[in-house]
Amino acid sequence: ERRTRPVDVETVEALEELLISADIGVAATTRIIAAVTKQSRNGASLRDLVKQEIRAVFAAVDRPSTVAVHPQVTLIVGVNGTGKTTTVGKLANLLKSQGKTPLICAADTFRAAAVEQLEIWANRAGVDMVRAREGADPAAVVFDAITSGKAKGRDPILIDTAGRLHTRVNLMNELDKIKRIAAREVPGAPHDVLLVLDATVGQNGVAQAREFMSVAGVNGIVLTKLDGTAKGGVAVAIAHDLRLPIRYVGVGEGINDLVPFSADDYVDSLFE
C-alpha cells in the first residue's frame, strides 16, 4: 500500500501538466485531481479515473430540448476569427444532408467581404442566403431572413453574426437587439444560440462564455480548429461552471469538417 504512493505522486504531477497544457485551467485541474485521488481505485489507473471524471462533467450537462416551433432560429456568435462564418456554411450543409431546409442569414454587415465569404459557403452547401439591403443594420437583416424563411417554408434559419469581443458593450447590445427581433417574429427565438470557440483559446474562453451567455442567451458551444494541436480544454471548465454543452466540433476547413460532439472521443483525444 505504502509503496504505491510515490508512483502516484509522479503520475499526479504528470496528469496535472497534461490537463493544464490542454487549457483545462488550474481550478478545474485541481478539482479533477482532488476528486480522483479521493476515489477508491479498484484497479483502475489514475489516468482512467481522470478520463471518467471528465466524461462525467460532460454527461451532467443536458442538451437543450428541441422546441416544436418552426422555423427554428439558430444564432451563431463569438469573438473575432473563431470560425463562425465557416461553421454556418458547414452546419447548413450538414442539416441539409439530414433532410432540413436551412436558410442562411448574413447578419455581419460590418467586416470586409464577410457577406461574400458566407455567400460562397451558401453556394457550396446549396442553400439560399438572405443579405442586407443597402445600409441595413444586422437586426434588420435578421428580420428579413425570418420573414423570407416563413414565406418559403425554410427551417432552420442560421444567422451568422460579426465577430465581437465580449468587452465591447455596444456590440454585445447589438446581439441583444437581434435576439429581441427574432423573439418577436418567432415564439421562443432564437431557439439555439451557439457560441463558437476556437480550440486554441486560453482561460479567456470562460469569460467569453459567461458574457455571451448573459447577454445573448448562449445555450451551446461549437469548438473549432480541433484538427490542430490545441485541445480546447476550456470546454471542460465551461461545462462544469456554466453547464453549457458542446454541440459540434470543427475539425478542418472543408465543408464536411463539422461533427456532433462526442465526449468519449474528446476525452480520448486529451490523452493522445
Binding site: E17, I20, S21, A22, D23, G25, V26, V79, N80, G81, T82, G83, R111, A112, A113, E116, Q117, E119, I120, W121, L165, H166, T167, D198, A199, T200, V201, G202, Q203, N204, G205, A207, K225, D227, G228, T229, A230, K231, G233, V234, E253
Partner: protein, 296 residues
Amino acid sequence: SLSTRLQDVFKTLRGESRLTPENIEAALREIRLALLEADVNFKVVKAFVDRVRDRAMDAVTNKDTLRGLGPSQEVVKIVRDEMVALFGNAEGGLQATTKRPRVILMLGLQGAGKTTTSGKLAMWLKTQGKHPLLVSTDVKRPAAIQQLNVVAEKVGVRVHDPAGEMNPVTRAKGAVAEATTLGFDVVIVDTAGRLHIDDELMAELVAIKNVTDPSDLLFVADAMTGQDAIKSAGEFNAQVGVTGVVLTKMDGDARGGAALSVVSVVGVPIAFVGSGERLEDLEPFHPERVVSRVLG
C-alpha cells in the same frame, strides 16, 4: 492582482519582514498559479519561476533587500523586472534592412488577424511616407483576396491581384517584381492561415519566403491563445523563421500570457500590437503594459 496575492501569502507567514528561502517558496507557488491562470505556458512558467527563485535567493544571501520594500513588494519587483527583461529592450517595429523593396511576410494560424494586420501595417507605413504594395496569397479561404482588396481600398494603397492567378508562390513573386518595376518600397505579403502540423502548407510558406526574400517574417498571434501558443510559434519559427510577433485582439480582456510564451520560444520581440478592428488600431509594443496585464 499578483501584488495582493503575494501580500496575503506573506501575511499568513506571520508577518515576516524579510525574504527567507521558506517564504520565497510560498511566494513562488502563488506566482506559478497566477501565471498559469494568465495563460503563460506551463514550461515557460517553470523556467520563469526558477529564474525568479535565483534572483530572490540572491537577495537573501546578499542581503541587498531593496530599501523601503517589504518582502512581498520585493518579490513583485523581481517578477516584474524579470518579465520586462524577457520581453527584451527592443523597440519593436520592423527590422533594419537595406533590401529594396522591403518584404514583410505575414504568417500564423487561422483567424489570428493576418489580413487585417496587413492593412493596418500598410496604413502605418503610408503615414510614414512609405509606398506599400499589398498582395494576398490566400487562394483558399472564400473571398480572402476580396477581403484584402477592400482593406487596401480603405487604406488607399495598391494591391497586386493578377486576375486568374491562383498559384500563391507566383502571386507573391509577381508582387515583388511589380514593386521593383514601379518603385514601391514595401511589399506586404498576406498568407492563408494554416496549421503548423500541415506539412504541405508549411512547405508552401517556405516556398513563398524563398521567392520573396522577406526582411520581416511576422508571426501573427491571438492574444487570447492558451497553452498552444508555444507549439504553433515554435513550429513556425523552426520551419519558416520568425523575426517578430504581432499580438492581436489586445483590446479584449485576455491576460495575454501567450505573449510571454511566444517571445520565450521564438526569442524575438513583439513588433506590434493589434488593439482593435479599425485599420488605425496598430500600436507599438509596451512591455510594462503587457506585464501589468499578465500579473493582473
